[in-house]
């Protein structure tokens, strides 16, 4: 027996709400009204499956369906391929043999934000499209940004997924031409290792690449790699080296170089802007200026994001290779120039 209040009245039944916001269908009796409090018994409750024979019928049908479809299910729901997408959001997609997404997982918070359970059951092409569109919408991905797709073949021996991805990317230039899509390949062992570290297989592979291309930066690494950090830290010759890496299946060298160049310009502008701001705010305090400028420069170095630190380090590394080690003096010269600029603008 239960106590409840009638909240809805239909032709053939009433909806009653009981303790803890539990709603139930009960049979209609005379004089039901909304807001009426009632005692109702289990026999008054209309179960959603209304009669016994229907229960049996459903059970039989289910059993048949289960046994018949068990085989098909295994085929459909076995994971043949894993594709991970990294922008900053990291998402891992599990595909069946028809490239239909049968499971997806956001591997970080941003990843959780761009996925949707409705994506399960859709073709990988549609899901990738939605993920990239969501990333753009939520401003994780800007024009010229990087999208990393990593593929792991679990059951197929061929590389059909790479061909499929190429098809997908080339098939939708409107979406993918504005960004840099890099496709790389990984093995099941890589996937397991990445799982152990709690990162996506894509980032795991990037860390490997970094060790190849830029060992010093890799050795100094304390945080988990990010896609932006990796790609924007690349020098032009790094990109050439990258292209020759075996795991890279697809990338557009020229676009990447342009994008990275643009990004560096943008960062430089930003640094200059900040210097200007600092300079003007110190107006009328000329005695302390030089000290403060040094301080400001230090601040900037701290403030510039990790990728730039890596960028600088790669620069130095490169410079070390050269005979006269001109890197340092160059840097000094640069900062002197900047100081001069500021003095001019101040005056």
């Amino acid at each position: 027996m239960n106590k409840g209040v009638i909240v809805e009245i239909k032709d053939k039944y009433c909806v009653v709400m009981a303790r803890g916001l539990e709603t139930k269908k009960i049979i209609k009796k005379e004089d039901c009204s909304i807001g009426q409090e009632v005692y109702f018994l289990p026999e008054d409750v209309i179960s959603t499956i209304s009669s016994d024979w229907r229960k049996y019928a459903i059970a039989v049908v289910l059993m048949l369906a289960v046994s018949v479809s068990a085989y098909a299910y295994q085929l459909q729901n076995a994971v043949y391929t894993v594709v991970s997408l990294d922008i900053n959001p990291s998402v891992e997609l599990s595909l069946n043999r028809n490239d239909v997404v049968i499971a997806l997982e956001g591997l970080n918070e941003d990843g959780l934000a761009i996925i949707d359970e409705d994506m399960i059951g859709q073709d990988v092409e549609e899901v990738l499209q939605q993920l990239v569109e969501n990333s753009k919408k939520d401003e994780y991905l800007q024009d010229d940004g990087f999208v990393l797709l990593s593929t792991v073949e679990k059951k197929n021996d061929d590389d059909s997924i790479d061909a499929r991805l190429q098809e997908i990317i080339e098939g939708n230039p409107e979406l993918y031409a504005k960004v840099n899509v890099v496709v790389l390949e990984a093995t099941e062992e890589d996937l397991d290792a990445a799982d152990d570290e709690g990162i996506s297989v894509g980032l795991y592979q990037l860390e490997k690449l970094e060790k190849e291309i830029n060992p010093t930066a890799a050795a100094n690494r304390t945080q988990v790699m990010s896609v932006k950090e990796f790609f924007y830290g690349l020098q032009s010759e790094d990109i050439d080296a990258l292209e020759n890496q075996e795991m890279i299946k697809q990338m557009n060298k020229k676009n990447m170089k342009d994008a990275i160049e643009l990004h560096k310009e943008a960062m430089k502008d930003e640094i200059n802007d900040r210097k200007d701001e600092n300079g003007t705010s110190d107006k009328g305090n000329s005695q302390n200026r030089s000290e403060e400028q040094i301080q400001a420069e230090r601040d900037q170095e701290d403030a510039v994001e990790d990728r730039d630190r890596i960028q600088d380090e790669t620069k130095k590394d490169d410079d070390k290779g050269k005979p006269e080690n001109p890197g340092k003096s160059n840097e000094n010269k640069d900062s002197n120039d900047d100081e001069d600029d500021e003095v001019e603008t101040d005056d």
Partner: protein, 220 residues
């Protein structure tokens, strides 16, 4: 069961054990409700049902007057309840005009007011739920089945309703701000997704003007 029932009945009769009597009435309360409901063809109102009090008296009476040669106790109690209810209706018909006046004027005013307020709240709640794409019926099919899941959902709902930021996001998006919630409370994505409708409903009830519903639903 029958053995103990008979034993209990004899014990009550011989020793005047009121405690045992109360227990028996409590145990058979659903049975009494059922008799009344069958008789009136209506649901029994817990707050105000003359028929229920008549039936309770009748059941009490049948405990006192029952003995073994009257057949099964349950059958006997059925009979007594039914005949007392018939008596009540007959008597009531004679004094119909008088009682109706009485009802309208004094007795029921408070209850009617309560019912009116409750009705209004239910209609408002129904409307507010629909703004979140929900209805009482939809709620029914997506109700968490396990008690622990439900407790967790209520816990989450309480956290949302007490956190201004979460509440704001909830109302603006008409959906659960899942990621923000996960930062505030230890709950998985899956749990939030599964109990979504229920959590939304509880938050609405907790934060809106649903005084009577809140009191009634005992989720506070």
């Amino acid at each position: 069961m029958n053995q103990t029932l008979t034993e209990a009945l004899t014990a009550i009769k011989e020793n005047q054990q009121d405690e045992l009597r109360d227990e028996l009435i409590k145990e058979y309360f659903p049975f009494i409700i059922k008799r009344v409901s069958l008789f009136t063809k209506r649901y029994v109102n817990p707050n105000d049902s003359d028929e229920l009090s008549v039936a309770l008296d009748a059941f009490n009476e049948s405990i006192s007057r029952y003995d073994m040669d009257k057949g099964k106790f349950i059958e006997y109690a059925k009979l007594v309840i039914e005949s007392r209810l018939i008596d009540y209706i007959k008597k009531n018909k004679k004094a119909e005009n008088y009682t109706e006046e009485l009802k309208d004027n004094v007795m029921d005013r408070k209850d009617l007011e309560k019912e009116y307020i409750l009705k209004n709240e239910i209609l408002n709640l129904s409307e507010e739920l629909s703004r979140y794409g929900l209805s009482f019926q939809k709620l029914m099919s997506t109700l968490p089945k396990h008690q622990s899941t439900k407790m967790k959902a209520v816990e989450v709902a309480k956290v949302i309703s007490e956190n201004d930021e979460l509440l704001k996001a909830f109302r603006e998006n008409r959906n659960l701000p899942r990621i923000k919630i996960m930062k505030e409370i230890d709950v998985s994505h899956k749990q939030l997704k599964r109990s979504r409708n229920y959590i939304i409903a509880v938050v609405i009830v907790l934060t809106g003007e649903y005084e009577s519903i809140r009191e009634y639903l005992e989720i506070n």
